[in-house]
């Protein structure tokens, strides 16, 4: 069924993509604007990119953000997918309760989540004398905690109504539960896992409120730096770094999409 999409549907899709990307276009354009306030076009310049080289704090925080984003995405995607699997595939008492608990992190206001974690970490440190140091590890813990739910909800929706027969086929061919999960379930779930992971990374990469509360000296993430700069005024070097991130990810995505061809069975 290579049924072509109706024209109106294509039109809506294009419009939505335009809606999503129009602000990006502005952002990219203004990264070359010779004005500090992005008020109007004042002329072309590379100065904001040059300035990035001086702003160690932006680059440092970008690395922290990437580190936090990647690790927390991997961990939360893994845990969230397993949780979704357990919920979808097994019937046990209190499943609905367990499932609605999943929504707690989603409904909890960020500030409440952040402060409660801060208090919790300090409780561990000062009352239980567990040596907790605020910094990248605590940020990762926090991000995983609020990302698991998002991943689980998304993956769960993909699992709904999925055929168990394929896993059975894998098992009768000699794969145990782990292998069957990895070789068969994961590829079937892939769009769900990918969606969940993308959401998780996005939220981690863009979180300010919670991160600012559980971060420690010397581990600012990009949003913390950006929020600081933006509080006063959005300096175009932020546009420049955003542009670089966009271009690099777009290239990476394109390249990986090109490279990932199905592998043939070769000796």
């Amino acid at each position: 069924m290579a049924g072509r999409l109706p024209r109106w549907l294509v039109a809506i899709t294009v419009a939505v993509y335009a809606f999503l990307h129009a602000p990006l276009l502005v952002l990219v354009v203004f990264s070359f604007n010779d004005s500090k306030f992005s008020a109007a076009w004042e002329g072309f310049t590379f100065q904001w990119y040059a300035r990035l080289l001086e702003r160690d704090d932006i680059l440092d925080s970008l690395w922290v953000s990437l580190e936090v984003g990647l690790i927390s995405t991997v961990v939360s995607t893994l845990l969230g997918t397993l949780l979704a699997l357990g919920l979808a595939r097994h019937r046990f008492r209190g499943r609905a309760a367990m499932e609605s608990l999943l929504y707690v992190p989603i409904v909890t206001p960020e500030i409440v989540c952040g402060i409660s974690l801060l208090i919790f970490f300090m409780f561990l440190k000062n009352v239980l004398h567990i040596p907790v140091v605020l910094g990248v590890p605590t940020i990762i813990i926090a991000h995983v905690a609020f990302n698991i739910s998002f991943v689980t909800v998304v993956v769960r929706s993909r699992l709904e109504g999925m055929d168990r027969n394929l896993e059975e086929a894998a098992m009768i061919l000699g794969a145990d539960e782990f292998t069957a999960f990895w070789r068969v379930t994961v590829p079937q779930l892939w769009p769900g896992i990918l969606s969940g992971a993308l959401l998780a990374f996005t939220m981690s990469f863009d979180d300010y409120v919670i991160t600012s509360l559980v971060t420690g000296p010397g581990s600012s993430t990009l949003p913390i730096v950006v929020y600081g700069m933006v509080r006063k005024n959005i300096e175009p070097s932020i546009n420049a770094i955003s542009t670089i991130i966009l271009v690099v990810t777009a290239l990476l995505i394109y390249a990986s999409d090109r490279l990932s061809k199905p592998t043939a069975l070769k000796p």
Partner: protein, 371 residues
């Protein structure tokens, strides 16, 4: 007798209050070609799934043994069997060759050998590895998918192979070729086959033994000829091949047989029926191909003979079925060899008076069906 490879002891399985398999027991010997035959929904697939380990018998639902070990709680991958699924269950994200290679990879077969075996398996199911190997299952026809499913199981050369209608989507010619391949694997490698099929001829030609299931129970278990020639119940007689039934009251019992009187007064002699009392109503069965038609007064002696009138001649390829109505309105069918209707049509025409004759040796007394 040697240790059976597979043993079901009183195994039951219930789905949502409905019994899909009801206390069935059987044993399968090593290297045996064991078929399960039965109407749709009788529990064949469930039986295979119990054996494969996808379903666990009910609590107190008996035990499944493989090579003497109770395996009720053994995981499927620990049972070292292979299975062809009724709905194929091909991995949609893997190419045909990777589907077939899957089990080999799990067993750690070296790469070079794997490629060779995958190619051989695809060849065996008549799929060109070069042409179909790299395709995704979605780009195959129904029969091609079924063959991939078959290849995926065969390539493992397991000691026990479960097949759930593995040839159902194939045309007759290919099916025959596959039957020969399967049978030769069975012989050559000593693989034990547990085979579900709807095709009776297939079951009859290929099997060492057949279990006929009905309504979650095993109705009869035996060698093909035994089941075909000596069906125990009306269900089996009707289900395997076709049968003519005669109902009557026992008027005489002799050694190895009875004589029955039909409602219209005609007597019919039959074999079997041990323990049936005089006056009891019994059902007799006789296969259409054991039935002869003669002129009303040309019936040979020593045969059961019932006067009849030809109702219809049905063309069925190799065979012709002639349906005749008896005096009481019931019907009997005689199967004749089709010797060419265009040139040498059968002599029987609708409305002709005739006699239906059949030997008492071909007539069997049936047991009553279980409740």
């Amino acid at each position: 007798m040697a240790e059976p490879v597979v043993e079901f002891n009183n195994v039951s399985k219930t789905f949502a209050g409905q019994k899909a398999v009801r206390a069935i027991s059987f044993r399968i010997e090593k290297g045996e070609f064991f078929s399960i035959l039965g109407p749709s929904g009788c529990g064949k697939t469930t039986t295979l799934r119990l054996l494969a380990g996808f379903e666990v018998p009910d609590e107190d639902g008996g035990e499944v043994r493989i090579e003497g070990q109770v395996v009720n709680n053994r995981r499927p991958y620990e049972r070292r069997l292979a299975m062809v699924f009724q709905n194929y269950a091909l991995f949609p994200h893997l190419s045909v060759e990777r589907n077939v290679a899957f089990g080999l990879e799990q067993r750690g077969v070296p790469r070079a050998q794997m490629v060779e075996r995958v190619r051989a398996a695809l060849d065996m199911v008549r799929l060109d590895p070069a042409q179909y190997g790299p395709r995704p299952p979605a780009a195959l026809s129904g029969g091609q998918r079924q063959r991939v499913a078959l290849a995926r199981a065969l390539v493992l050369e397991p000691s026990i192979l479960l097949l759930d209608e593995p040839l159902g989507a194939l045309d007759l010619k290919l099916r025959k070729e596959m039957q020969l391949e399967l049978k030769s694997l069975n012989r050559r490698l000593g693989i034990t086959f547990v085979y579900v099929t709807h095709d009776q001829e297939e079951a009859l030609t290929m099997s060492d033994r057949i279990a006929v299931m009905d309504n979650a129970r095993v109705a009869q278990l035996g060698a093909p000829a035994e089941i075909y020639e000596r069906p125990r119940t009306a269900f089996v007689a009707r289900f395997i091949g076709e049968s003519n039934f005669v109902i009557g009251e026992v008027v005489a019992t002799e050694r190895g047989g009875v004589v029955v009187k039909r409602a219209d007064g005609n007597l019919v002699a039959a074999r079997g029926g041990e323990g049936r009392a005089m006056g009891e109503t019994v059902q007799l069965a006789v296969r259409p191909e054991r039935v002869e038609l003669t002129g009303p007064d040309q019936a040979p002696g020593g045969q059961n003979m019932l006067p009849a009138r030809i109702r219809q001649v049905v063309y069925r390829g190799e065979m012709l079925h002639v349906r005749a109505t008896l005096g009481d309105g019931s019907e009997m069918v005689a199967a004749m060899r089709n010797e060419g209707q265009l040139r040498r049509p059968v002599v029987w025409q609708e409305g002709t008076e005739c006699a239906v004759t059949f030997s008492p040796d071909d007539t069997r007394v049936l047991e009553p069906e279980p409740a």
